[in-house]
Point group: C2
Chain length 104, copies 2
């Protein structure tokens, strides 16, 4: 089982694969290809999210920060519950692969 | 915070960095450089372990399987509690970076 080979086609829409589900824990692999959140859309999640970029490039922004985080492979963040954030940009030229781990 | 740049020097011993600790969840980045478990050593862990190889190469073996898993970047496994396993080999030429997530 590999997260980087034979990626699903994300041209039309982001591709989400659930890897593991346990009480209080959910691990997903997300593949993006140029997608971003609509203007003024913000995630407001009840769970914390540990996110690790595995491939590609993305910009992640928080309401409480002025500048977006440019994420490259190996970059990670732990997003506290209800800390509002959005994806400003993902690379349209190459797939961006995220490991997202939702936890309590 | 990046898991792949400016890696700690693992020539003498494996380098473990704890990224996150929550009740029932612990996330670590482990850097190996040629280390392996001693002959006949087996891990027998009370926790489950989701392990993802981020860089390098390693061989992971289970008592209940005849052949070791050759792990490459992007390969992942979820190891059940008390499923005995060992690291047979890690690449001595280039750092092997593991994301290890211990969960209940």
């Amino acid at each position: 089982m590999n997260l980087l080979f034979r990626l699903p086609d994300a041209r039309a829409t982001e591709q989400v694969d659930r890897l593991l589900t346990r009480p209080g824990l959910r691990i997903e692999r997300i593949v993006s290809l140029g997608q971003a959140n609509p203007p003024d859309f913000w995630y407001d999640q009840a769970e914390a999210e540990f996110v690790l970029l595995l491939a590609g490039a993305a910009k992640l922004r928080f309401t409480d920060e002025r500048v977006a985080h440019l994420l490259r492979p190996g970059d990670w963040l732990d997003i506290a519950p209800h800390r509002r954030h959005r994806v400003d940009w993902t690379d349209a030229a190459t797939p961006t692969v995220w490991l997202a781990l939702f936890h309590r």
